[in-house]
Symmetry: C2
């Protein structure tokens, strides 16, 4: 049994790409230090620079819930709301 | 410089979940043997069993292009077209 996989795709306003990138990047170091964080990587869509993806893995649902309440994420969320056009986020369990 | 990340999310017809799972699972072993395949994992959405995700990583764009032309994927695609309601697929480069 592996952890919980999470994929979060953010499409942001074209004029906010650099701002969004900075806000997303700033989340990485503090999040990787969180309890239960197995993987937390930030990607940019090769054909659409205004689309970003986080691919994450968390040891338990509780660890993910704690991450969602973390101070750094709460703070980033205020900015994220201002530049995000669309967000697709789901948690996944590994089949194979 | 890491490889190319690919996330492909498939939402399938509710009545085809088991069929889709079998078709997707059958792709794993032959794909992992392909040249340049770094990662190829299949997931199921925890809140929507009719939604699946492949998270992949390929060494080069050429390896990914070859995968897309592979016999096992070409064959699976015929079935996939019959049960897939929505497909979201993008390639990503790692920021951090």
């Amino acid at each position: 049994m592996r952890g919980i996989k999470l994929v979060a795709i953010f499409r942001v306003k074209m004029e906010c790409v650099e701002e969004a990138k900075a806000v997303f990047e700033a989340l990485i170091e503090p999040t990787r230090k969180e309890k239960g964080c197995i993987e937390y990587e930030l990607f940019q869509d090769e054909s659409d620079p205004a689309s970003f993806a986080f691919i994450e893995e968390w040891a338990t649902a509780e660890d993910l819930a704690n991450h969602r309440k973390s101070e750094h994420l709460m703070r980033a969320r205020e900015n994220m709301n201002s530049f995000t056009v669309e967000k697709i986020s789901s948690t996944y369990s590994l089949i194979k």
